[in-house]
């Protein structure tokens, strides 16, 4: 259980360092990359971090199969290629994948529902690691359970690999609304609130006092355009994850950034536009300019057309 100081902040040295790195990423864009060239494009476009993975969610969705941690060789190449922090995903509950990622020197581990879960009951005990973790959440209770397990950053879950922002919006609104509701409760009411949210009382009390999560709250899943990024920032996200939105052309086909200069330019323009939109999320004039400059958008998949069993966001508990 995280300890707190008198100001309702996390107190342990380990956790302060983990949350500290998350603080440095605020206001930025974290981009999914599948090879060194994409990682270089992301850094050049102004990404604050890259997420190294074998297949972006749109491809996992289209191709099926078991989605696992990326190959160590790929992760090492990407770490070598860029100076910004490198993240990588481990399967839910797969603490051995997380141990490997920590050993490789990854700066942040994403215990992610986008990969096939390895444990249907337990998430990773994230306090056991020096490397910070980010976890997804659809509501306040889920977010606080992850924080209790040691997550140093929450990303509100959208529906990854669709290019449809609707679920990212729904879950960000849900978490913000639940946090606001806690701030008006009396001290006695917080015990029942902890029971309702199925979250530790100490964390519920912390949120009730500050009105926000004790760790940074980023948004992920379905963000595909500069306007989507600005929308999520205005709704309360502190930074943006973009997965399939930058380097994908069709559902399962990435832009060929290595051999095709036109497609490379398209990826660069999308990446730069989303970075600018995330900084100037409150400035419609600049948002209009960058939206105009961007060439092409991932085709996308309406999330409402997906069967319940096809949803990635329902993984994790």
């Amino acid at each position: 259980m995280p300890e707190m100081n008198g100001k309702h902040q996390l107190a342990s040295t380990q956790l302060r360092l983990k949350v500290g790195l998350a603080e440095m990423l605020k206001g930025g864009v974290i981009m999914d990359v599948m090879n060194v060239e994409q990682a270089r494009i992301a850094e050049e476009a102004g990404a604050v971090s890259v997420m190294a993975l074998e297949r972006v969610p749109a491809m996992i969705r289209a191709e099926g199969g078991v989605a696992r941690m990326a190959r160590p060789g790929l992760i090492k190449q990407i770490i070598q290629a860029v100076s910004i922090p490198v993240m990588a995903k481990a399967r839910i509950g797969h603490f051995a994948e997380a141990q490997i990622l920590q050993e490789l020197g990854v700066d942040f581990i994403d215990e992610s529902e986008v990969l096939t879960p390895a444990d249907e009951t337990h998430h990773i005990d994230k306090h056991a690691f020096t490397t910070p973790f980010v976890c997804g959440a659809r509501n306040l209770g889920e977010a606080l359970r992850r924080i209790a397990e040691g997550a140093a950053m929450i990303r509100t879950k959208g529906e990854a690999g669709t290019g449809d922002v609707v679920h990212a919006v729904q879950h960000m609104r849900q978490i913000v609304k639940e946090m606001k509701a806690l701030t008006v409760l009396s001290e006695q009411e917080l015990y029942a609130a902890a029971k309702e949210h199925q979250a530790p009382y100490e964390l519920i009390r912390m949120v009730a006092h500050t009105g926000k999560l004790p760790v940074p709250n980023f948004s992920a899943g379905g963000i595909a355009t500069p306007a989507d990024a600005a929308l999520m920032m205005q709704l309360g996200a502190e930074a943006i994850f973009v997965g399939s939105g930058i380097f994908m052309k069709e559902r399962a086909t990435p832009l060929d950034v290595e051999n095709n200069p036109t497609e490379r330019a398209e990826a660069v323009s999308r990446a730069k536009a989303i970075v600018t939109a995330t900084t100037h999320f409150n400035d419609p004039k600049i948002l209009a300019e960058v939206s105009e400059q961007v060439t092409g958008t991932m085709k996308g998949l309406a999330a409402a057309a997906l069967e319940e069993s096809q949803l990635l966001q329902t993984r994790g508990w």
Binding site: M24, G27, G46
Partner: protein, 198 residues
């Protein structure tokens, strides 16, 4: 004039990074923090903080929007304070990799000099600021490789200078905004106030 405006209007560059933590720290030190995202927003300010974050991200942004030159002019006329990524942007020469900078602090600095996130640490170090040892939060921190003769060292981590001042430019390779000790921000607020009087 109110007490807070008397202490100066201090901007925090809010392109990316932990600018909100700096704004809170400035308010606690008695200044009025103002978030800055456009060059024209620099005009009304008495001082500026360049926060921690990713120096490449901030640099790309500044280069794109003709912000770098405006910022360089600002730094030559009013006090600035950079932490971590901000210290990298202020230094004359940047290593690992080489990258452009504002070059207003006579220092050579190496990025990610202590290693990756797993090597980040919180240490107590010696400082010339009154009040004894200072808590320092280092996150993927840079290191000053060398300093010009005019640069005063205000705090060290063992042998390494980690908080320095040259005239009206202050820089820290750690994150005072992530500690509850406000002496470093207070020193900058005082510098801004002194400079306003001069």
């Amino acid at each position: 004039m109110t007490e807070s405006s008397g202490r100066g209007r201090i901007g925090v560059l809010a392109i990316q990074g932990d600018y909100a933590a700096h704004a809170d720290a400035l308010a606690e030190a008695g200044a009025t923090p103002i978030l800055v995202r456009k060059p024209e927003e620099l005009r009304e300010l008495d001082g500026l903080i360049l926060p921690g974050g990713e120096s490449t991200t901030i640099l790309r942004f500044l280069e794109k929007h003709n912000f770098l030159e405006e910022l360089r002019q600002f730094c030559s006329s009013r006090p600035v304070f950079g932490t971590c990524a901000g210290a990298i942007l202020l230094s004359r020469e940047v290593r690992n990799p080489q990258q452009p900078s504002l070059a207003v602090l006579d220092a050579r600095i190496e990025r990610n000099a202590y290693g990756r996130q797993i090597d980040s640490s919180i240490v107590n170090g010696e400082t010339t600021l009154p009040g004894g040892a200072l808590e320092m939060v280092f996150i993927r921190a840079p290191r000053f490789l060398s300093l010009g003769a005019d640069v005063e060292v205000l705090a060290r981590r063992e042998q390494d200078p980690v908080l320095v001042r040259q005239g009206k430019v202050m820089a820290a390779t750690f994150h005072p905004e992530l500690s509850s000790d406000r002496r470093v921000h207070q020193a900058f607020v005082d510098l801004v106030a002194r400079f306003r009087k001069d």
